[in-house]
């Protein structure tokens, strides 16, 4: 029962606007929330938005077990997300969750480099927490167009060292995550990595994930990425969100959204 999928109205207990571009919704329920693995996602129904017919997949940003809260960090881009940004405390949001398989579950003692870009950073907060809980050591390498795209850094710092890049140089090192000076240290030991043995979990825009995957492959580092293919059902029924893999077309919503880069057929 603990991790059965459910579809229900969750109550909004907080609506935070870190800045104009984002809204953080904190949801709760009368019953205990189901067990959620970092990297899993939810499908939410956007009410009263004529342009939004289908549910919207949103990654789980954070789960506050004590408060029984589920956090969704949403970038406000279209009419649907603008609608979500106008929700009020006390409103309900219909949520289908938990969906997909999450990131690789951590093991005590291992080191994991979490690489995030843009809104793809969101699910890494819960992952960093869960890694820390099992005694693993997460490192965070987070990139954004500018400082305004890098949120929740204080929360991330509770779980591990945080390295930042911005394209405009407004925070951290200027450039892309793959340009960050710390990256070299995560190369495999034979290739001189001082943190050899660490693996990478990555979530962000596809070009960024492909660059990270390419780097990982070249530097002998195990790497998994979280895909964001367009999807409808979120349950593996509609077969719309497929990704070509070595096993053929598979549903990102059900087999993913996290895949080892060796499973994918990316040209890297």
């Amino acid at each position: 029962m603990g991790n059965m999928k459910q579809c229900k109205d969750l109550r909004i207990v907080a609506v935070e606007h870190p800045n104009d571009g984002y809204v953080l919704l904190k949801l709760t329920d009368a019953e205990p929330l189901p067990a959620i693995r970092a990297g899993q996602f939810v499908e939410i129904k956007v009410e009263g938005s004529p342009q939004t017919f289908l549910r919207r997949p949103i990654s789980v940003n954070f789960v506050d077990e004590e408060r029984n809260e589920l956090w969704l960090l949403i970038q406000v881009v279209g009419e649907g997300t603008r609608h979500l940004s106008r929700l009020q405390v006390g409103d309900t949001l219909n949520v289908l969750f938990p969906l997909g398989n999450g990131f690789t579950q951590g093991v005590s003692g291992e080191q994991v480099l979490l690489v995030g870009g843009g809104v793809g950073i969101a699910p890494l907060l819960e992952y960093a927490k869960q890694l820390r809980q099992v005694g693993a050591t997460p490192y965070l390498l987070l990139g954004g167009r500018s400082a305004s795209n890098l949120l929740q850094l204080d929360l991330f710092r509770q779980y591990g060292e945080v390295y930042v890049t911005t394209e405009d140089g407004s925070m951290g090192e200027q450039g892309f995550v793959t340009n960050h000076s710390v990256l070299e240290s995560f190369a495999s030991s034979p290739l001189g990595g001082t943190r050899g043995g660490a693996r990478i979990s990555c979530c962000g825009p596809k070009p960024m994930m492909m660059a990270v995957a390419r780097w990982a492959k070249q530097h002998g580092v195990r790497c998994e990425v979280s895909l964001e293919n367009l999807m409808a059902c979120g349950l593996g029924a509609c077969l719309c969100c497929v990704e070509k893999t070595v096993r053929g077309n598979v549903c990102v919503c059900k087999e993913g959204p996290v895949f080892d880069i060796n499973e994918l057929t990316w040209q890297i």
Binding site: Q6, C7, K45, F53, L54, L96, M231, C233, C238
Partner: protein
């Protein structure tokens, strides 16, 4: 309380609500979210004689009150179904129906024959109207000759309930319906998707990998109700209506247009439990209006 048990050409259902092929997987995907025994029938995803990878991504685009898809019959083939999927689904306590597609009458027949052997598959839905694969049967579904040719071939080898799914992308869906009735179909289901297209103007390319796809959802409901009304007047066999049904009231429209049962497709993506809610809503509506069975309103238009 109204009795909404329904029988379609020998197929007995606890209610007239079925889930449409390609929108409900094999039922298993929804087991956590809805009591499958409360669904009249589950029409599983399209199955073909040989395995198919389907079309490339992207396969979906959202449109005004609807969606386009071009999945293209991705499935592992009938042998895999019989060996690996059938054992998992055969004991689901509802009518587990296989949707059959093919590239030639022989394909259809061979696939149907294999499924005919599966004791706990009481019916098949013949998809002669998939708009998303060059050899997806669309070619058969748009002419009376092609349609009856496929149905005759399957009828020879399939002796359980044979439902034929019709395309709305034709000049006269009533003519197609009559031809499949004459060819031995036990029932018809309609409408399959309307052929549509959407363009990503920033990338200057179609939103779907194969350019066009099938439109479904509330946007097409008026076309579906019209088609059901025309076909119900044209044939004697039962008509199963689908196309944009999201509520019990939508379903009632189809019954009044002449449908004996309905399928819910795209709606399953919005609410995984919609089929059971609609079934309950139909029963409530009949009670509120003093109707003992669906026959009180069926085909009143």
């Amino acid at each position: 309380m109204a009795d909404i048990r329904t029988t379609i050409a020998g197929l007995q259902m606890v209610n007239p609500v079925m889930t449409a092929s390609g929108t409900f997987g094999y039922g298993l995907e929804f087991a956590d979210l809805v009591d499958l025994s409360q669904i009249g029938g589950i029409i599983m995803k399209g199955t073909t004689l040989h395995p198919r990878e389907g079309n490339d991504y992207p396969r979906m685009a959202e449109t005004a009150s609807g969606m386009l898809n071009c999945v293209g019959l991705q499935n592992k083939g009938v042998d895999y179904f019989c060996e690996h999927i059938y054992p998992q689904v055969k004991d689901i306590p509802t009518n587990m129906i296989v949707n059959v597609s093919g590239s030639s009458p022989e394909d259809y027949a061979e696939c149907a024959a294999r499924i005919n052997e599966l004791e706990q598959i009481p019916a098949i839905e013949l998809n002669i109207s998939c708009p998303n694969v060059r050899q997806g049967g669309m070619a058969f579904g748009v002419t009376t000759e092609g349609a009856s040719q496929v149905v005759r071939a399957v009828r020879k080898v399939y002796d359980k309930t044979l439902i034929v799914k019709l395309s709305p992308n034709v000049t006269s869906i009533a003519d197609i319906a009559r031809s499949v009735e004459d060819a031995g179909a036990d029932a018809v289901s309609l409408i399959n998707t309307l052929m549509g297209m959407a363009i990503d103007i920033e990338r200057r390319r179609p939103r779907l990998s194969i350019n066009t796809g099938g439109l479904s959802g509330p946007a097409v409901k008026p076309v579906a109700v019209r088609c059901v009304w025309q076909v119900a007047k044209a044939v004697q066999i039962p008509v199963i209506g689908l196309g944009g049904i999201m509520t019990a009231e939508d379903a009632i429209e189809f019954f009044m247009a002449g449908a004996s049962a309905i399928e819910i497709g795209t709606g399953n993506f919005i609410d995984p439990a919609i089929s059971v809610k609609v079934a309950q809503g139909i029963s409530d509506w009949l009670d509120r209006h003093g109707c003992k069975t669906l026959e009180a309103i069926r085909g009143v238009i």
